[in-house]
């Protein structure tokens, strides 16, 4: 959760998946009472960027699309073409993050 939060925060609000992820984390942490304050202005901004349910579902590959929607944060409410784009960016981010973590772990082993 932490890694996701940091990754999403760096991407910021430029990508739909990062918005969705930050939104989810914010809600989770609100529920757990971790957040000191609530920010309403941001909530409004996020609400505007929320997308309506997809009007057209591509009929072929419907199962995989739904599967992908579960994986990619915020994927439920995207159209198929946007979903593919978000997936591409998400994969890129995840790959970089894994690389960074790998390096961290390599460094860590020495210290303990």
């Amino acid at each position: 959760m932490v890694a996701d939060a940091s990754m999403a925060s760096v991407v910021g609000y430029k990508r739909a998946w990062s918005r969705a992820m930050l939104w989810k984390i914010r809600n989770q942490s609100r529920r757990h009472g971790l957040l000191a304050k609530k920010s309403n202005s941001h909530a409004n901004r996020l609400r505007k960027s929320k997308v309506v349910k997809p009007k057209i579902a591509k009929t072929e590959n419907f199962d995989q699309a739904s599967e992908l929607r579960k994986l990619v944060p915020g994927g439920e409410a995207m159209e198929y073409s946007n979903l593919l784009e978000e997936t591409a960016h998400y994969i890129k981010c995840l790959t970089t993050q894994v690389g960074i973590f790998d390096e961290l772990v390599k460094g860590e082993i020495v210290d303990i």
Partner: protein, 338 residues
């Protein structure tokens, strides 16, 4: 561009006969005239192949250019010749502009049908030339791909091979209707959407290792899903591993939501140091520096020990816009607290 200079000379068709390329042409209309006119077509294809090296936006260009090898019609060649001559005269010499014009040259226009009667005369060429000039000027937008909507019943053989391209930047989409395809707006929009989806799928295929060989959308999607799941698991495992090593103190989510000016943990000093050093780590595998960082970190662990704060500046690399932006973001946050 030398090619444009070549185009200028190509207006004198006679010399260009020798430059008939190895690209196979439809032998159906192998009259001498079409042989002459094929040359400007070759020029167009060269230009298009040129643009195929550019990022994937133009990949559609490549595919449509290959389909243009089968252009038999005089009209299209004439049209292309006129457009190519526009290159030399057009003011804008940017490569996107030329690619735009070259894509315009792919269009099959119906106006030249009237000029077909005297194709060899240069005044005829100048007519579509002026037309295309105006059109080129009008459509002179970067990355703008324009097609004409011609729901005409007259569809030449060439139109069959022409693939509609998408306009992603222009407010409207002109789509060339293909032979035997429905021309109502719904199917056109549907086709445009499908093209968009296919382009994105192609990009994903390149991103996911081992997807290029798989053919068929379903399997590719399976592979993509598998990859995403794998990556997510990896991140989870590694983060747990790191968390086990670094004691986590005071994880403060307020850091992440810029609208809130929550109290941030003291450990922001490393966030300034980290991005700078991480910039050097860009080619991942620079282990020694990281070890120094770790030592630095363990020394100040009680103060800095936050894993998330630790991770956040590292993830500044993740900002694909530019790492500079995220670094400035971090420094802005720091200024906010101070």
């Amino acid at each position: 561009m030398e090619r444009i200079g070549d185009v200028e000379s190509s207006l004198q068709f006679g010399e260009e006969i020798e430059r008939l390329m190895t690209i196979p042409h439809e032998s159906g209309t192998a009259s001498s005239f079409t042989a002459l006119l094929k040359l400007p077509a070759n020029q167009a294809m060269e230009l298009l192949h040129d643009s195929s090296e550019k990022p994937y936006d133009y990949s559609l260009n490549c595919t449509s250019s290959s389909s243009h090898l089968h252009f038999p019609s005089n009209l299209d060649l004439l049209e292309r010749a006129s457009r190519l001559s526009v290159f030399s005269t057009a003011a804008a010499q940017d490569s996107p502009e030329t690619t735009n014009s070259s894509q315009n040259s792919l269009k099959v226009k119906n106006e030249p049908t009237e000029t077909d009667s005297n194709p060899k005369s240069s005044p005829e060429i100048s007519d579509p030339m002026s037309q295309t000039q105006t059109k080129c000027q009008r459509s002179g937008k970067r990355k703008g791909r324009e097609k004409k909507v011609k729901n005409s019943s007259k569809k030449s053989k060439s139109a069959e091979n022409e693939k509609p391209e998408e306009t992603e930047k222009l407010p409207y989409v002109h789509v060339r209707a293909r032979r035997g395809q429905a021309t109502d707006s719904h199917s056109l929009a549907e086709r445009a959407r499908r093209e968009k989806i296919n382009a994105r799928m192609k990009l994903l295929q390149e991103l996911v290792p081992g997807c290029n060989k798989i053919s068929g959308t379903a399997l590719v999607l399976d592979e993509i899903i598998n990859h995403v799941q794998t990556l997510q698991h990896q991140v989870e495992m590694l983060s747990m591993r790191l968390a086990a090593v670094n004691p986590r103190i005071n994880f403060n989510l307020d850091n992440l939501f810029p609208a809130e000016s929550g109290s941030l943990v003291e450990g922001n000093f490393p966030s300034m140091v980290m991005p700078l050093t991480w910039a050097q780590v860009q080619p991942i595998g620079n282990r020694q520096q990281q070890q120094q960082l770790w030592h630095f970190d363990t020394l100040h662990q009680p103060v800095w020990g936050d894993n998330p704060n630790f991770i956040t500046p590292e993830n500044s690399l993740l900002s694909y816009d530019s790492s500079a932006n995220s670094v400035s973001m971090h420094s802005n946050r720091l200024k906010m607290e101070l």
